[in-house]
Amino acid sequence: MDTDKLRNTLGKIHPDRALVERVKSYQAQRAFFAMNRRKLYRIAYGMALVFVVILAAGIYRGYMEKEPGEEPSVIRAGDETREQTGASRVESQNALTAACFLEDQEAYVYENQRIILLDECTSEKVEIIITNPEEGMVCYTSGRADLAALFPGLFQNEPVLSEEGQRQAAVLVYRNGAWDEKLLGILEGDQAEGVIPEEYLEKILEFAR
């Protein structure tokens, strides 16, 4: 074999023209990304930060809901309640009377630790979660929080009410010398559905008599 022929043969090996053009275009693409790299990093960093904050908030909220007993007793009631009743923030923790002044409010039990308040005028629902009724109340409210102190000591973790709880419930059901038929009906309905213990209503009524 002749080396010149070998050289000629090797000289005819060329890459595909389209491939060469494609490789040349990489430089332009690279310049674009290099220019925007800093911006892309900032956006990615911002998104990561937001994700971390949301994650931390979720974990914190989960922790608060799972172990409320360890949190300090704080009532987060609206200022409107205190203005109408004259009760201070601390006093309102145990002030059943505060709720009784608000005639257009209707309250019923939804879960053991949850109250849904229905304002008949505005049809607005307010959800209150009582997490530590033993030492006052810890309430997290959405919307109006006027009746955060409606059932202090009433809805405890124990199925049987404390004496203070029974007394307060009785006052609510039998007030101004007459039975509150609507609230009584709600409590009876809840008892029938098993939402509240069987002896619940009996004890309240007994106390009221």
Binding site: D2, K5, V20
Partner: protein, 172 residues
Amino acid sequence: MEEQTQRAGECDFPNRTVEEVVDCYADMVYRIALSKMGNRPDAEDIFQEVFLKYMQKDPCFESEEHRKAWLIRVTVNCCKLFWMNPFRRHFAPLEEAPEEAFCEMDQEEQGIYQEVMRLPSNLRVVIELFYYEELSVKEIAKSLSISEANVKMRLSRARQKLKLNSDQWHMD
């Protein structure tokens, strides 16, 4: 572009644009890749990778020879790395099909090409660097990280297999 101008100022040797470098060395890089890989698709992958590395690193060169040596070295390294990939270690060709010749080649050249492609890759690359790129034995040894004696031995074996005329050997 600013980056390139700045780098050109730092280097003694004036920088060329990527387009110029690709135009100048595309054939050389492709031939070395083809001789190392033995098939066109893999050679094309290596070809792209070498010039991507060139763009990413944007190295400074002292001379055109320096640039050429850098590209040869990177091409050889890319070919080595290609086979180091654990996924590719399990690859095997389905059949020993002959590599298709280039369309510009005549009948005789196609025969020579097929013969060259039948050589083992370590002999093929030495032939390519010695006869076409016209590198010295010393330069080939440096580029492939092997001894000069090894280069000479590979050249000798390749010549025997290709039955090259002994009077045309130019070994310096």
